[in-house]
Symmetry: C2
Subunit: 427 residues, 2 copies
Amino acid sequence: MAAEGRAQGEAAESVAAELRELGLAVEVHPTDGAPVVFAERRVPGAPTVLFYNHYDVQPADPLEAWTADPFTLDERDGKLFGRGATDDKGQLASRVVALEWLKRRHGGELPVGVVFVVEGEEEVGSPNMAPYVTAMRDRLRADACVWEFGGVDAHDRPHLVSGLKGIATVDLSVRTADYDQHSGLGPVVQNAVWLMAAAVASLRDAEGRVLIDGFYDRVRPATEREAHYVAVAPREDDVVARQIGVERFLAGATGSEWQRRLQLEPVVNVNGLHGGYGGPGMKTVLPASATAKLDFRLVPDQDPEEVVGLLRAHLDRHGFGAVETRLAERPEHPSRVDPDHPWVRHAAAALEEAYGTPAIVTISSGGSGPLSPFVDELGVPVIMIGVGYAEGRAHAPDENVRWSDVERGTYATVRTIERWAGLTPDG
Amino acid sequence: MAAEGRAQGEAAESVAAELRELGLAVEVHPTDGAPVVFAERRVPGAPTVLFYNHYDVQPADPLEAWTADPFTLDERDGKLFGRGATDDKGQLASRVVALEWLKRRHGGELPVGVVFVVEGEEEVGSPNMAPYVTAMRDRLRADACVWEFGGVDAHDRPHLVSGLKGIATVDLSVRTADYDQHSGLGPVVQNAVWLMAAAVASLRDAEGRVLIDGFYDRVRPATEREAHYVAVAPREDDVVARQIGVERFLAGATGSEWQRRLQLEPVVNVNGLHGGYGGPGMKTVLPASATAKLDFRLVPDQDPEEVVGLLRAHLDRHGFGAVETRLAERPEHPSRVDPDHPWVRHAAAALEEAYGTPAIVTISSGGSGPLSPFVDELGVPVIMIGVGYAEGRAHAPDENVRWSDVERGTYATVRTIERWAGLTPDG
């Protein structure tokens, strides 16, 4: 997994072998971090489809919360369980199967040009992807791009996502004394855990509104078309609430307001906070240090580096000057594709055909990724479709994918590519 | 250690053997928790001194912060290092040596009656001590009591402590979803770590003032004599600041205001807060649960149970109803002995003799213990003297005691007992 930098070489080699099997010319490119698996097969006269995926996964902890070993694929109840089942090994496997399927449907040869970029640092913010795309600009030429994730919503309706939030991840740390003290000193010695808790608490209110001065200044208002797609997005909150065990969402959001928040609202998350004693029983200690991890999910035209600067100013202004901030990884800029782009519409039509129900256009995922270099540097339209579903537990224990989604999602990818290439099935 | 319930039987047996060696009749009394070592030898016509000590220690974590193994006594630089070196194995050993010393000075026999109560749950709030004292009331009759700790301050002046704060320890926990979520859901799903951080932050301000309604209502104003002893207490903050690496104390307190806060101000401490990812790198997770541990240090006439009720009301009133509270251990009530009690004055005179400098009367330690049953139920005057010092690192890594303090502190105990018994040295 990328956070711990383990098994990167093995995972890259395994992906390279799969892509070679498909008949692509594969190169494994070193970067400053994990290697990128690059694969290519151009087809003269046909358009080229670029696939962006990643072979890294999130850490599997807490291990005890998994029903079975996270690193052994476990099939039960029509699902496949394992770390990466949906994010992103399952999606990548679906792309490979879709291309094998296309070969069978079109005389044993790929009917379109294909380029793969499979990186190994997506889960830690793709710090080397922007420079990679710049350096590889000419070899990444393509007519459309299929992004690393996608799938159906809580009502099993296919979604077509055309934007991602930006992200900035920040490590916080504070030290208030050389070593932990007896908590009897509490009336005179500052408590590092209290100070960190207060700093983190100060960043937002109870409904998720960010309280950092200037945070919302650069948020670009939604266009009329964007607002339209958000307004007509079907309700998902009710099903999600049951699936994840939440009684009330932030600000009581439901329906299209829930969609608006998820797609268009930036947010700050605390990914973890740790300090002092956490074992069994009690320990009357006054902790001298504490750490926390944050991620900011940003929307156009917020600038990640600027937001981190605003965070620093906020902490200094509110009495948290002792809390140190460190950018954890290279940030990613938010980016969106025009949801009315013709290639996006082709994909939507393919989804409707595969699923028998209209595709739902999602202006932006709540998640992030290195979309900006592809959209803003290569200028390629990017769509996000795939085999995921609402209970896929990406980043959590018992991550999984359903066989039924694998089948339909893979077929939808086949049909999307055929529509892009102007091909008819079995032709 | 008491928090983890380990090695209690062995520790009790080891203490029992030491006390038998001294010629006392030893009994190991079971309780609902760890056993109490009771030892007794009455001397007809002589006063009886009661010793209260404990054989349990704090957990040793973080282990990596220790210079050497915490459970192997390590002697270096004129100090003895190890978990319990000062709290409380070193103090207990000093009491035993003082009694051996008294025997040598008085014809091979103990010149006073002696009773020991050595418990095994002091570090988890002595949940079984109050009922034990009640049940053993008749057998614990004594004229004065030497408490489990004491020593010199940051300027090496002997202190004589005559009061303790009360304590209530509370476990907090919160769950906001069935399992951790991808942090892209941040704009709609509450973050358990943020919620816990905000709850903990809301309990006090940046200078340690408790913000729970009604918290200070029962705080009894200091008497004129108590205020006097606090006002004349010599400055310690400057040396403590250097020793523990603190630049500024809460509210900028120095001098007698620092002493007043430490001795007379109640406080809430967060002993630890944990939730979400804390490993290497980053993990963009939205944590579904978090835990924290609190201790309240209370002064007369605050009532621990009432304070826990005020905490619950505070959380409910401020939007933290989802944060569950659980009393970790039976609370201890605050208690003080009259600093002008004749037996306290005898002890002060003995300290001055042993150290060559006047004893400093401390109205209350910042710490806690089961003092109330002894003072308020047995009605025995209790003093706190011993072999500790300001850099003893009680409850922290590299806990230690200095040989020089062991020698002088033990001698001071010998002289205190001789003065109480109206004996002259070598008589």
